[in-house]
Structures are given as structure tokens and as C-alpha cells.
Homo-oligomer: 302 residues x 2
């Protein structure tokens, strides 16, 4: 890495739907300080993004030469300003080309990525930074990346560029079914993961039955007391994650990089392992590493 | 039909989750009077099923020889009394054998049906009566029957007996997604059916993409303004019904009997027709015909 590309300290910000997190990074990408607040884009007082940003980060921004890069939903239509998506295939270069500057040379919104597959678009916003961070942290240049969450992403990377991805509504649908549907009546979502029931759900997902039918099985099994309330939530989770896995062109012995919170990545690692697929897991550090990599890429261009 | 089997007038009752409907039928099955009240099993005052039943039907029950048959959720664990499921394969004989008498010879709950397929159970309660009614009304003894609703049923009948069925959570999931998910933000569910968008959804369902991914496409298409709020709801409906159809062993030229409310059966008829499958539609009359057929079967045994 050529140090010539680095222009100083980076204020790395991940501004999502429900929270605002920031880190002060030195030239080598080391975290000097971190902060977070429940000020996601839906909770910005009076919609005053500039004021909210200043209140949180003006102290860090005082230093001459400080640059701030913001990833996540802050760049969406409902956010601070809209940073149009960069189209795939896209690497760090395409991201730097599409930065949306709020204050030229000082504060920029990182664009999300879009892709068109079989005539239907797909989008991500924030995950792209985690992926480039994961590439930096693992030293690999390609492979399959999975980012579990409300809207899970399965992402293909080649030669350092995102070539395609698919979003799955798995997390949101799990939430709706376990809390608002008929299935919730016989389900204890607070129970810890029941690995046997989770695997039973995974296996059911490979039976070839349509998901819309397999889901009703959760209800029928509970009616006949063949699935306890505590086991039901894990079975449902296995059913949905299994359905997601079934759609992937996974090969035995393949490796996958998981990026996300441990509560979710653990389940995906389990599911992948039972399909003979190895996985490596990264957490929140991928975001800071990604924004740092982007910072370096900007420096290399200027 | 041997008149010897008929014992008099029938009070046919369909007691579901949200409503209580009844019909007074003569010996030939003709409807002499009908009534309905928003007294579904979840809205029975004080849980007093006997009192609620008496308040609605005691006048009709006064006649000597009157028999009352009640189908639907009144026979579930949350209902008046639990009428255990009859196992498939099951015809009218199995239903009469499993009637749950509340007052011997006077008031009976019709059992639902259960089936076990690939190690997972499935259940119905109320639809079985509609199917036997449809057999009577159409004069056929077998085929594929579809009962759209919150929990859609696809039912196989051979020689007058239900041999198997599958429940799909299509209706409930459509409701959750169109009202409570991220998709609801760009969806106008009050708009009338947009047939082109519905067909676009149907077609997308046959693309081989996993449903969990195809659903997010509704969001992405709306983001890029390629799907209007009015068209989104129809597209989603096509996507889900298409997914359900994809799971059926349908053959070109085959005929299917649809039973249900026109708002739903119309969509299924459209979807089936674009798959080259003909359909015939029946409505609420199937319930009364089914309870009348059951009445005749009881009479034939006594």
C-alpha cells in the first residue's frame, strides 16, 4: 500500500436505518475512537441531517485534512441526500467515481450498488463497503460473500469487483411470520437456538416442497405437538435459511465469507457446514476496513 | 338419491374464525332461509358457544326431526368442542363415522381432515365439506380442487374420497407483505387488479429464482419506478400465486375446480388459464351442498 495515497485521518461513518455509528481511523486504518447513537435516518430530529452530523462529529472533523466517508442508508432517497447507485460490476474505483460529495473534499456519501439480472434490478447500500473491507481483511480478491440481515445479500466478487448479487427477504419474513402470523401463536421466539430443530427445518427445505406449503407445516407440526414452541422458531429459521441456500450454486468444499452479527452468522455457518461448505466470519470491523480501503483508493487517485 | 335416507330438514351451519353462517335446507337440499352474524369462534360472547348457537338457531331447531351439522373452526381446539380430524383418504363415510355429537342425534360438529406427507402433517377444517359439496354439484367423482383463502388448499380427490392435500400460506403472506413489510411502502393495495402486472408476477415466478429473492424484486422495481404502487400489489399477487402453481403437477388441458370467493377465484382462474389449465368455479353454495350430502350419508346409514 503506497502511503502517498493517504491524506490523513478518516472519519468513517455507518449511517443506517436505525443507528448512526462512527470511528476515527488513523492513516493505517487503526481505530482511534468509536461512537454510536440511536440516530438512524428514520430518527433524525426534525430531519436535520447536517445538524445531527455536526453534533456527533464536529470535534473529529476539526483537524485539517480530515475526510469523512459515510456509508449506508444516509445516501438513500429517505436519507441526507441521495447518492445514486453505482452499477455492477463495480470495485473501489467505481465507488470513488460515484461518491456524492456533501462538502467537496470533506464529507462524502458512498453510493450503493445496483445490478440488473433477468430483467429485474437489485440494490444494496452499505453492504458494498463491508465487502471491500472483507477483501482487505482476508487478502482475497474474489469469492462468494453472504451478508445476513433483514435483507440478506449473496454477493459474487471477481478480481476485487462485485460482479453480481441477490437480495433475499429472509430476515424480514422470519420476523413477520414469527411475530405476526398464525405461526406466532405456537412459537417462542425468545428461546435459544435449538440446533436439532434448526437442522430439521434445513432438511425440510431440501425436500422440494414449495416454501409457501412448507411454512404451513410449522403450524401443523405444532397442532399435533410434534414441534414445541421453543423448537418452532428454530425450525422456521432453518426452513427459511435452507430455502435461501437451496437457491445458491454451492459446491462441496467451497468457501464462503460471512459478514454480520454473530447471532445470524452462526446460523448461516451451521447451515453452510451441513451442506459441506466452509465459511469464515467477519463482523463490524469489515465496515471500518472498507471505508479505510475506499479512503486509500481516493488518495491514490488524487 | 334414495329419499329413505333423509330424516327431515337440515340446519346447515358454517362456523368459522370470523363469522357464523347458517341455512335451513329442505329434504332436497333447497335453501329455505339463511342467516349470518359476525360471531366467529374468536368473537363468541363469553365463550358461550351453546348460548350463541341457541340464540341464532333455536327457532329452526324447534321442528321435530331437525338435525344440525356444523362445519368449520367451531370443531377446533379453540372452538365449541374439539372434533378430532379424520385421516385421509376420507369420503363422506369417514366424515359421518367421525362426527362429534354435541347433542346425540340433534347437533354434530363435522371433523376436519388430516393427512401425513413426507413425514409432515397437514390439516383442513371446513374445506372438506365444500369439496364434497362440489362433487355433488358438479357430478364428478375426482380431480384437483383448489380452495383459495388465507391458507389455500390444493386437494386431490379420487372416487369420491380426498386422497391428499397441501396447504399454502399464500393469502396470509400476501397480507403480511402488502401491509406490514417494506414492500407496503410502495404498494397501493386498494387498487383494482392490474392484469398485466399480475401476469408479469406470474411469469417471474416461473423464472426459477427463489421466492425470498423474487419478493425483494418488488421493492427494487418500485425504487427504479418500473412498478407503480397500483401495479405492485397485482405483481406481488402474481408472484405468490405463480409460486403456488409452480409446485403443482398440472398438465396442459387438465381441469381444476376452484371453490371460494370471486375476488380470489378470479385470480386463480387467470393464473391457471395462462398455464393452459381450464377451471370451473363454485362459491358459497358448495358448503350447503356438502352439508346436505353429509346429511344424506348419515340418513343412508341409520
Amino acid at each position: 500500500m503506497g502511503l502517498s495515497g493517504l491524506t490523513g485521518r478518516l472519519i468513517a461513518v455507518d449511517w443506517g436505518t436505525t443507528s448512526l455509528r462512527g470511528a476515527l481511523l488513523d492513516e493505517a486504518g487503526r481505530v482511534l475512537a468509536e461512537k454510536s447513537a440511536p440516530l438512524g435516518i428514520l430518527n433524525v430530529p426534525g430531519g436535520d441531517f447536517a445538524g445531527t452530523f455536526a453534533a456527533q462529529f464536529s470535534e473529529w472533523m476539526c483537524d485539517a485534512g480530515s475526510l469523512c466517508l459515510i456509508s449506508g442508508m444516509a445516501g438513500s432517497r429517505q436519507g441526507w441526500q441521495e447518492a445514486p447507485y453505482a452499477a455492477c460490476p463495480a470495485g473501489l474505483d467505481e465507488l470513488t467515481d460515484h461518491l456524492h460529495w456533501i462538502e467537496p473534499g470533506r464529507i462524502a456519501l458512498v453510493p450503493g450498488l445496483s445490478v440488473e439480472q433477468d430483467g429485474v434490478p437489485d440494490v444494496m447500500r452499505g453492504e458494498e463497503v463491508q465487502i471491500f473491507g472483507a477483501l482487505r481483511l482476508t487478502g482475497i480478491a474474489g469469492g462468494l460473500f453472504v451478508l445476513p440481515g433483514t435483507h440478506n445479500k449473496w454477493v459474487t466478487v471477481r478480481d476485487g469487483r462485485v460482479t453480481g448479487f441477490r437480495t433475499y427477504m429472509t430476515g424480514e419474513i422470519y420476523g413477520l411470520l414469527s411475530q405476526n402470523s398464525i405461526l406466532s401463536r405456537t412459537m417462542d421466539t425468545a428461546a435459544p437456538l435449538d440446533e436439532a430443530a434448526f437442522r430439521q427445518g434445513l432438511q425440510r427445505a431440501t425436500s422440494g416442497e414449495a416454501l409457501l406449503h412448507a411454512l404451513f407445516g410449522v403450524r401443523a407440526l405444532a397442532l399435533f405437538e410434534r414441534l414445541s414452541p421453543a423448537a418452532s422458531a428454530s425450525y422456521l429459521s432453518g426452513l427459511l435459511i435452507g430455502e435461501e441456500l437451496r437457491a445458491q450454486p454451492l459446491e462441496n468444499g467451497q468457501g464462503v465469507v460471512l459478514i454480520g452479527a454473530p447471532a445470524l452468522t452462526t446460523r448461516y455457518a451451521l447451515a453452510l457446514s451441513s451442506a459441506g461448505v466452509k465459511s469464515k466470519t467477519l463482523g463490524a470491523e469489515a465496515t471500518w476496513a472498507g471505508l479505510h480501503a475506499l479512503h486509500s483508493a481516493i488518495g491514490a487517485k488524487t
